[in-house]
Symmetry: C2
Subunit: 164 residues, 2 copies
């Protein structure tokens, strides 16, 4: 079986005042996403302002290759939480280092998007931007283990937003 190699090029870059990776309190973080003006014009974003939320695909560029986990580990190294596989958690030290998150879209100005609640650090390469459509979320009730509820308790809470 052949497992494809894929070459991507960031379509933009995130700018905010989060210099050091942090675990929690993303709600108030405001980020500007600058789309690459050499490859894209404002028409690439036409109509995006009609959506309240985006789905952003980004690259955990600060994760060193040597830190990537391919097996199991305790999320956030919390030994009171179960040891689960890297594909059963959302930690950044993952194969391919891809992050996917939803955020609120505040404004579109030429090639700059301003968003709130995006969990990225300053300088993060942006791989894709998609509009959030409600129908693309799970339509049934979802279930998840208790540790994942705990880890998310203040993840998207407000507070501590002004830098590190």
């Amino acid at each position: 079986m052949d497992f494809a190699q894929v070459e991507l090029r960031a379509v933009g870059r995130a700018h905010n005042d989060i210099v050091t990776p942090r675990d929690d309190y993303w709600a108030d973080v405001r980020t500007e996403i600058a789309i690459d003006g050499r490859r894209f014009g404002a028409d690439a974003l036409a109509g995006l302002e009609d959506f309240s939320h985006l789905e952003v695909v980004f690259y955990f560029h600060l994760v060193n290759e040597s830190r990537i986990v391919s097996g199991a580990r305790h999320p956030r190294n919390r030994e009171d939480w179960p040891k689960v596989g890297i594909f059963a958690q959302r930690g950044k030290n993952r194969p391919n280092r891809i992050g996917v998150s939803r955020c609120r879209l505040l404004s579109v100005n030429e090639l700059t998007l301003t968003v709130a609640g995006l969990d990225v650090v300053d300088g993060t390469p942006i791989l894709d931007i998609k509009p959030w459509m409600q129908e693309f979320g799970p339509q049934e009730k979802t279930t998840q283990p208790d540790w994942s509820r705990e880890i998310m308790r203040v993840y998207y809470a407000a507070g501590g937003a002004s830098g590190d």
Copy 2:
């Protein structure tokens, strides 16, 4: 400004009976995702079965580079829908050709995941698998334009699942 080049390697591959790309009726499509056994052991998936839904990042490998849209176009070429930017729609002919979807997890068996409702064709390279946590979805009410409601009308409907 520097826009990073990123090299990825598929972590697995999707197998189902959808040979030709199709627009709609994904609810009943059943897909097996085979994780690359040369790079991963079953521990990479440990605990995943405690989640009802996954978020899957994949590669639209059938899209030829020459078909990638970098500006605006009518979604599905429907001229009765507005011409919107490629980042304001979820069409597959997009820069970096990355797809992101949620699906139901039916079972985990060693390195094979069985899922339902994943909108991929047979052979699709899988770039990442994340557990779906309810908290990672928008927590506020989201808004979106009418055309996006129309395009999704039967996207995740049941029916027509047995191949093409």
